[in-house]
C-alpha cells in the first residue's frame, strides 16, 4: 500500500477571522488517521485538498509515486483522476438514483468487486430499489460508503461520517466501518469530534487547532494518558445553593447529572459555562448496560 505525504498551506477565512492552514503529515500503509479538532479548524478543508476539490495555496500532496498536487511543479491532478474516495458529511447521495444505481455509478471499470457484493456487505440488498429519500440516516451513510468503495479508491476520506446519527446507530456503523476496512484495507482519513469513535477506528490521531497540528500520535498518546482519571466535558445548566452545599446541574452528552459541590468549588460556575468533570479511577461504579 502506498505511502502518503502532504505538506500544504492555504489562507482560510472562517467568518470574520482569517487564519493560515499549515499542515504536514505522512501516513503509510493502512493507517486510519483521525483528524480531531473543533469546528472551523480546517479539517474538512484538508480532506477537500486531498480529494482535489480545494486547491492549496502552496504545497505538495503525493500518494506513493503519484504526485496529486505540487504547486512548485504546477501539478494539480483533477478529482476525477486522483482515485480518492470521499464520503461527504451530508452523504451527497444522488436523489434520483436508487440505492443500487448510486453504488453502480461509483463502480470503477477495473474494480474487482461487483455491485451485488457491495450491497451485500453493507446490508443494502433489501433496499436496492429505494431512493435515498426513503432511507434512514444510517442507511444513507452505508450507501455513501458503498458507493465510495465501489470506485476502489487508494485513499478513503470520511468527513464526520457518523455525526448525524444517534448513539446506537453510531456504534453499529462504527462496527460496519471497521469490518469494511478489514475487508478492503485502505489508507483512511477520518474527521471526527468523538473521542470514542477515534479510539475504536483510528490508529493515529492528529489534533488540529487554527489550521495547524497541535498534537499527533496514537489515540492513547494524544488523549492524555488514560489511567488515573476519567474526564468528560459538559455544560452547566443550573447552580443552586442547598443549605451548606451547592447543587450543580451539568449536561454531559445526552445525560443530565446533578452534582453536589462545596460553595467554594461551585463559586464562579455560571449557567452555560463549559466544564470538565473528572472521576478518579479508584472504585467508580461500572456496570454493564444490558440492551
Amino acid at each position: 500500500m502506498a505511502a502518503f505525504s502532504m505538506t500544504v498551506r492555504k489562507r482560510l477565512t472562517a467568518g470574520d477571522t482569517a487564519f493560515e492552514l499549515d499542515f504536514c503529515i505522512d501516513a503509510g500503509g493502512m493507517d486510519c488517521v483521525a483528524l480531531f479538532g473543533h469546528s472551523g479548524a480546517g479539517k474538512t478543508t484538508l480532506l477537500r485538498m486531498i480529494a482535489g476539490l480545494t486547491v492549496p495555496d502552496e504545497g505538495r500532496i503525493a500518494l506513493g509515486d503519484r504526485v496529486l498536487f505540487d504547486s512548485a511543479a504546477r501539478i494539480n491532478v483533477p478529482p476525477q483522476h486522483r482515485r480518492v474516495g470521499l464520503v461527504f458529511q451530508e452523504y451527497a447521495l444522488f436523489p434520483r438514483m436508487t440505492v443500487e444505481q448510486n453504488v453502480r455509478y461509483g463502480l470503477a471499470r477495473d474494480a474487482g468487486g461487483s455491485v451485488d457484493s457491495l450491497l451485500e456487505t453493507f446490508g443494502l440488498a433489501p433496499l436496492r430499489r429505494r431512493l435515498p429519500a426513503m432511507l434512514s440516516g444510517g442507511q444513507q451513510q452505508r450507501v455513501a460508503l458503498a458507493r465510495t468503495l465501489a470506485a476502489n479508491p487508494s485513499v478513503l476520506l470520511l468527513d464526520e461520517p457518523l455525526s448525524a446519527l444517534d448513539p446506537v446507530m453510531r456504534t453499529s456503523l462504527q462496527e460496519a466501518l471497521c469490518s469494511a476496512r478489514r475487508a478492503m484495507p485502505v489508507l483512511t482519513f477520518l474527521v471526527s469530534h468523538d473521542c470514542g469513535e477515534i479510539f475504536r477506528l483510528a490508529t493515529r490521531v492528529v489534533r488540529i487547532a487554527d489550521g495547524s497540528i497541535t498534537a499527533s500520535g496514537t489515540p492513547q498518546e494524544v488523549f492524555a494518558a488514560p489511567g488515573d482519571r476519567m474526564r468528560v466535558s459538559g455544560q452547566v445548566l443550573d447552580n443552586r445553593k442547598h443549605g451548606a452545599i451547592n447543587v450543580v446541574t451539568i449536561a454531559v452528552g445526552e445525560e443530565i447529572s446533578r452534582i453536589a459541590l462545596s460553595p467554594d468549588e461551585a463559586e464562579g460556575l455560571a449557567v452555560g459555562d463549559l466544564v470538565s468533570v473528572s472521576v478518579k479511577a479508584f472504585n467508580p461504579d461500572v456496570r454493564k448496560i444490558v440492551k
Binding site: A51, P79, Q80, R82, L86, A92, R96, A108, A151
Partner: protein
C-alpha cells in the same frame, strides 16, 4: 361571424415547436453557464436575459434586419440552406426560440444552482466528468425546473405579439397567429371574433399556469 381557427392552431404549433427546440438548445448553454468560471459567463448571462427587458418589437426589428435576404446573414441562410426567415413560419420559430431563451435557461440554471454543490463534487470524486455528471446526476435532479422552463416558454410564445408581427408580418395561414388575429379583428371592428380569440388565449394561459403550479406543488411534495 367568420371565425377562423387557424391562427389558434398556428400559435399552439409555434409555441410547441419553440419549447421543444429550446429545451434541447438550452442544455448545452445551461451546462456551460453553470460550470464556467470565465468572465465570458457574465456577459453570456446578460445576453440570455436581454429579451426580458427589451421591448419585443426591438428584438423583432433587429431580427428582421439580420434575416433579411439582402443582409449578410439572411443572404447566407438563403444561399446555403435555402432558408428564408422573414415572413415565414420558420422565421417565427427561430425568433421565438431566441426570444424565449431566458424563460428556459433561467429556471434550469436556478434549478442547478439550488442543488447542493456536493452532488457535483461527489460525482467528480467518483471519477466522472462534467458531461456525465450533468446528464446523469444534475439534470434528473431538476426535472421540475425543466418542466417549468417548457411550460413558461410555451405560455410566453402563445402570448407573443410585437416580435412575431415584426419578422412574420401577418400572412394568413403562415404567420398570422392568434394574438395578431385579435389585433387585426379589433382594427377591422370584428369584436366577436376578437372576443373569441382572446377568450381562448385566456383559457389556454390559465390552464398552462395552473398546470405549472400543480407540477411544482406535486414535485415539492415528493421531493
Amino acid at each position: 361571424m367568420n371565425f377562423d381557427p387557424v391562427p389558434l392552431l398556428l400559435s399552439v404549433k409555434l409555441a410547441a415547436a419553440s419549447a421543444v427546440i429550446l429545451l434541447v438548445l438550452a442544455m448545452p448553454l445551461s451546462f456551460w453557464l453553470y460550470f464556467t468560471r470565465s468572465p465570458a459567463g457574465y456577459l453570456a448571462r446578460v445576453f440570455v436575459n436581454l429579451p426580458l427587458v427589451l421591448p419585443p418589437v426591438v428584438v423583432g426589428f433587429y431580427l428582421l434586419l439580420l434575416f433579411n435576404p439582402s443582409a449578410p446573414v439572411g443572404h447566407f441562410l438563403q444561399q446555403v440552406f435555402h432558408l428564408r426567415l422573414v415572413f415565414t413560419f420558420e422565421g417565427l420559430v427561430v425568433g421565438s426560440v431566441l426570444f424565449n431563451v431566458p424563460f428556459m435557461v433561467n429556471p434550469v440554471l436556478s434549478g442547478l444552482e439550488s442543488l447542493p454543490r456536493s452532488l457535483c463534487e461527489a460525482s467528480f470524486v467518483l471519477g466522472k466528468g462534467r458531461w456525465t455528471t450533468f446528464w446523469r446526476v444534475l439534470l434528473p435532479s431538476i426535472r421540475p425546473s425543466l418542466l417549468t422552463g417548457l411550460i413558461l416558454t410555451f405560455a410566453h410564445t402563445i402570448g407573443e405579439f410585437g416580435m412575431v408581427l415584426m419578422i412574420g408580418g401577418k400572412i394568413p395561414g403562415v404567420t398570422r397567429v392568434a394574438s395578431i388575429a385579435v389585433y387585426d379583428d379589433v382594427e377591422s371592428l370584428h369584436f366577436a371574433a376578437a372576443h373569441l380569440y382572446s377568450a381562448v388565449l385566456v383559457i389556454v394561459s390559465f390552464a398552462v399556469l395552473f398546470l405549472l403550479i400543480l407540477v411544482n406543488k406535486r414535485f415539492a411534495r415528493t421531493w
